[in-house]
Amino acid sequence: MPRERDGLSAIVRVVTQWLFVPILVYGLGVGFFGHLTPGGGFAGGVVIACGFVLATIAFGGRTGPAPVFHRWAASLEAVGAMTYLGMAALGWSAGHFMQAWTPRGEDFTLASAPFLVVLNLAILLKVGAGLFAGFMVLVLFDRATGATAREGGDA
């Protein structure tokens, strides 16, 4: 098998394949249950972004899940922000802006505060996609500037 130019060794790739989905599930769990346990949308989003960054580093950015997700990252971030704003604006239907307008479930369950769960997920989407998009842009920037430096002969 010819060695590809990009990415890290086979050991790292295999371990990343095993860990990638558990990392995403962990991030979602931290985000979903942020209103019951320590964590929340921000921490969960960063965990998910870490998973994609790991995949990008291990597989080199041209293969793996990174290129697909990268195309959607900016849109997903906007969806997260709009969800937060939309949930806040729908509060007007119950009285005022940012009013928790969703019905409440039993205490200490996932449904105890649907409003907070949706806000947490909106932040998760926004932070996860935003951080990953920022990372990818840095990688592309580095690639572009590296190419320029090589052409200039000073690299």
């Binding site: 931290v30 942020g34 209103h35 019951l36 346990t37 320590p38 964590g39 929340g40 921000f42 921490a43 960063v46 965990v47 972004a49 870490c50 960054v53 580093i57 900016a74 971030e77 906007a78 922000a81 937060y84 704003l85 806040a88 940012m98 928790a100 409440r104 479930g105 205490d107 200490f108 105890s112 505060a113 409003f115 907070l116 806000l119 947490n120 932040i123 926004k126 932070v127 935003g130 951080l131 998009a133 920022g134 990372f135 842009v137 840095l138 990688v139 592309l140 920037f141 580095d142 690639r143 572009a144 500037t145 590296g146 190419a147 320029t148």
Partner: protein
């Protein structure tokens, strides 16, 4: 317990100084990572698991990105030696800041001794008012949701700005000359 906290805080100060003084960029980034992880342990010992989790994951991703950004430029940074005037001004400013810091902290209520009134109200009303078992989330997303809205706006705008500028560069493959 107090000794552990003081020891950890001293370790963080040492790590920060090391990060500033190291000539090799990669070593400095690693020192910054050590400081961040130590800080998260400090938060955990002080009973703030929410902040500790956020600190850990942010530190991991920031150190990863910084290492990715500095591996290309591992050449050591050598500046001219500092002049006496710069040292005097630097040490003087540091002393003034530390003096103000000590004066400000002397005015604060003793650590954990008395809480301002809103804290009691938050603790009493969090579950009944919002349905959140985690008081931190009830404050961040409900009682003070406007703050989080503002924070979300800041992140959105900053990342959108970075995307617009850097994507342009990445597509053209050219770095604008300053």
């Amino acid at each position: 317990m107090n000794l552990i906290l003081i020891g950890l805080a001293a370790f963080l100060v040492l790590g920060s100084v090391a990060a500033l003084e190291m000539k090799n960029l990669l070593s400095a980034v690693i020192a910054v990572g050590v400081v961040g992880l130590g800080l998260s342990v400090l938060f955990l010992l002080l009973g703030a698991p929410d902040i500790a989790i956020t600190q850990v994951v942010v530190e991991v991703i920031v150190v990863t990105v910084m290492i990715r950004a500095t591996t290309r430029t591992t050449d050591e940074e050598k500046g001219p030696p500092r002049s006496l005037a710069a040292v005097v001004v630097g040490v003087g400013s540091a002393l003034v800041i530390v003096g103000f810091g000590i004066a400000a902290f002397a005015e604060l209520p003793r650590f954990g001794a008395e809480r301002p009134t809103p804290s009691f109200w938050y603790l009493a009303e969090a579950l009944r008012g919002t349905g959140a078992g985690n008081v931190v989330t009830s404050i961040v997303l409900d009682f003070r949701g406007y703050d989080t809205l503002g924070e979300a706006t800041v992140i959105l705008v900053s990342i959108a700005g970075a995307l617009v500028i850097a994507r342009h560069v990445a597509r053209d493959g050219k770095v604008p000359r300053a």
